[in-house]
Amino acid sequence: MSAGATSLLRVHNEAIRSPTPSPTPSESSQSGFDMNRPTVISAQNLTKTYGDLTAVDNISFDVPAGESFGLLGPNGAGKSTTMKMIGGVSQRTSGTLSIMGLDPESHGPEVRAHLGVVPQQDNLDEELKVRENLIVYGRYFGLPLSYLKPKADELLEFAQLTDKANSKVDALSGGMKRRLTIARSLINEPRILLLDEPTTGLDPQARHILWDRLFRLKENGVTLILTTHYMDEAEQLCDRLIVVDKGRIMAEGSPANLIREHSSREVLELRFGSERNATIGVELQGIGERLETLPDRVLIYAHDGEAALEQVTARGLRPMTSLVRRSSLEDVFLRLTGRSLVD
C-alpha cells in the first residue's frame, strides 16, 4: 500500500472516537456483531409511506460501531428509502431512528456531519476538476483549506486517482467516478459510511478495486452501511445483513449463518432446456432436501451436490448442463421470497 493510503487509514483509525471505550481488535468477533460496542444506528419500527405505497414497513435493527451492515434485496425493496432516512434527507412516517444518539429529523445537519454518503447515482460536480470536487465538498463541513488541500491529495491516492487530479470529472470512467464519490464521502473523516448500491453498473475489475478500498476502511473501524442487490458483494463486505423485500425484513444474520439457516450446503443446478424445466420437477422428486424450479434451470438443494447428481443420472435423466456449487445468499433470498434477486 502506498504511503498516502497508509496514513489515510491510520487517520481513519484514530478518527473513530467512540462514546465509550472501544474494545481492542482481538476482542471483536469475526462476525463483527459485538454487543460491547456502542450502537451507532438504531431503528425501531421504522416506516415510510408514499401515499398508498409502503416503501419501508415497520423495520427494526441496531448497528454497533465498526460493523459492516448490509441491506440486501431486489430493486424497490425499500433499501434506498431506508438509507435516505438514515442519511437525514428523508423523513420517516413513523417509528424511531437514532444516529449517534441523534434524531435525523430534528438534527439533520448534526447527523449528516457524522456521515459519509455514497449515493446510488453519482452527483459529482462535473464542471469542477477532480481534486476541486473533494475540496468543495469539504467546505460544506466548514473544513479549512489548510486541511482540505493535503487531505484531497491523500484521498486521491487512496482512490487511485492522483494522476487524474486536474482532469474534469466527465473525463473519468464509471469506476473512477465511483471511486471519486467514495473519496469525496471520506473528506470529513466520517465514523459511518453509507453506501447505496456502490458497485451497480461497474465492470468486474472496477468492482474488485472498489471492494478492496471498502475493505480497508472496514478493517480500520469505519462503520459501513451498505445496500446491494449483489449477493457476492454482500458476502464479501458484510459482517451482518438484513434481507429486505417489499419493505419488510425477511431474515437477519451473518451471510454464513443466513445460508446455514435457510439453505442447504450445496446446490445442484440443472438445465433441461426451457421447454422441459417446468415439467421435470415430478421426475426429480425425492432427490435432495428441496427443489426449486426456475424458468431457465432447476435447483436441487442438497448437502452433497455430486451425490444428488448421481441420483439424477441413475433415474435416466440427462440434463443439458449440470453444476454443483455452494449455497449463496441468492438461494437464501429465493427461499425466503420465492423470487430471485435480480428480476
Binding site: 502506498s2 504511503a3 497508509t6 496514513s7 491510520r10 487517520v11 484514530e14 478518527a15 472516537r17 435516505k84 442519511g87 434527507v89 428523508s90 423523513q91 449517534m100 429529523e105 438534527h107 439533520g108 445537519p109 448534526e110 449528516r112 456531519a113 457524522h114 456521515l115 454518503v117 449515493p119 447515482q121 452527483n123 459529482l124 460536480d125 462535473e126 464542471e127 469542477l128 476541486e132 468543495v136 465538498y137 467546505r139 460544506y140 463541513f141 466548514g142 473544513l143 486541511y147 493535503p150 487531505k151 491523500e154 469525496r184 473528506i187 470529513n188 473523516e189 466520517p190 465514523r191
Partner: protein, 287 residues
C-alpha cells in the same frame, strides 16, 4: 518504501485531522449558505470569460446601436417625448435593468433543473450538513453577486457613454440587481417545482421574458402604449426597475408615491419569490 506509520511522529508529521462532526454541524448551520455560494462561484469561474465578455460586450453593442444609431433618428424628432433627455439617457437604464433580468432568467432556470434532475448537483451537498434552504440561498447569493458585478460593469459603460448625468446613477446597478431577483426568484421557485422538462424554460423566454423586455417602457414610455397592454408594464419587474433606474441616472421627474410603489413592488415580489423558493426546495429535498 518506509511505512510512515512506523516513524516517530514529529510536529511536522502530525496526521491531518478533521475537526469534530459537532464543529462541522455548527459551522454549517451558521455559514452553510456561504459554503454553497462558494461552490456556485467556483463553477462560474469555469466560464468566467464568457461571463465577462457578455457583461461588457452586451452593453457596448446595445448602447452603440440604440444610443448612437437609433438615437440619431429619434433625437432629431423630439426630445420632449422622452421627458427632455436624449434617447440614449432614456434607454440606458432600461437596457441595464433588462440585461440583469435576462441573466437572472438564465441563472434561475436551467441550473435549478440541473440541480434537481439532470446532474442532481443539489443532492451532493444535501448529504452534507447543508440544508435545502442553504443550498437555495447559496445559489441566490452567488447569482446576486453576478447580477451586481454585471450591472456595475454595465453602468460603467453607460457612464462612459455619458448617459448618466446624475451623481446617483450608480444606484441603478443596485436597482437592476433587485429587479433581477424580483423576476428571478419566482422563476426559481417555478423551476424547482418542475419534475419533467417539457420545454417550459423556452416558453418562459419567448412568452414572458421577451414581452417584458419589449413592453416595459424600455424603448418608449409606457404611456405611449395602448391602455389595453399597459398592464404588462405594471406587473413587470423590468418596468418598475427601469423607472427607478431613470430616477437615479437622470433624475426623472416622478411622483414620490410612484417611486415608492416601484421599490415596494420589487421588494415584495423578490421576498415572495424567496419564500416560495425555500418552500419548494424543502418540499423537493426534505429538511
Amino acid at each position: 518504501m518506509t511505512d510512515p506509520a512506523s516513524k516517530p511522529l514529529t510536529t511536522a508529521e502530525q496526521p491531518l485531522r478533521a475537526h469534530s462532526p459537532e464543529v462541522s454541524a455548527a459551522r454549517a448551520r451558521r455559514w452553510g449558505s456561504f459554503f454553497y455560494a462558494e461552490q456556485v462561484l467556483r463553477v462560474m469561474r469555469n466560464y468566467g470569460w464568457s461571463v465577462i465578455l457578455y457583461s461588457v460586450g452586451q452593453p457596448v453593442a446595445y448602447l452603440f446601436a440604440m444610443g448612437v444609431g437609433l438615437a440619431s433618428l429619434v433625437d432629431a424628432n423630439s426630445e420632449a417625448a422622452f421627458g427632455g433627455v436624449s434617447y440614449l439617457e432614456f434607454v440606458a437604464p432600461a437596457l441595464l435593468v433588462s440585461a440583469a433580468v435576462m441573466t437572472a432568467s438564465g441563472e434561475f432556470s436551467y441550473p435549478i433543473m440541473d440541480g434537481f434532475k439532470w446532474r442532481r448537483v443539489f443532492y451532493g451537498p444535501h448529504a452534507s450538513p447543508l440544508t435545502p434552504q442553504q443550498i437555495a440561498s447559496g445559489h441566490v447569493m452567488a447569482s446576486s453577486l453576478r447580477f451586481l458585478l454585471q450591472s456595475v460593469v454595465y453602468f460603467a459603460v453607460v457612464a462612459m457613454f455619458g448617459a448618466s448625468p446624475s451623481l446617483w446613477g450608480w444606484m441603478s446597478a443596485i436597482v437592476a440587481t433587485v429587479a433581477a431577483l424580483s423576476f428571478g426568484l419566482p422563476l426559481m421557485a417555478y423551476a424547482a417545482s418542475i419534475k419533467q422538462d417539457k420545454g417550459q424554460f423556452a416558453l418562459v423566454q419567448r412568452f414572458i421574458v421577451m414581452p417584458l423586455f419589449l413592453f416595459s417602457g424600455t424603448f418608449f414610455p409606457l404611456d405611449s402604449l395602448p391602455i389595453a397592454v399597459r398592464w404588462i408594464g405594471w406587473i413587470s419587474p423590468v418596468w418598475h426597475g427601469t423607472e427607478l433606474g431613470r430616477v437615479f441616472t437622470y433624475g426623472m421627474d416622478q411622483n414620490p408615491l410612484l417611486t415608492i410603489t416601484h421599490v415596494v413592488f420589487l421588494l415584495v415580489t423578490a421576498t415572495g419569490g424567496w419564500v416560495l423558493v425555500r418552500r419548494q426546495f424543502v418540499k423537493r429535498m426534505g429538511s
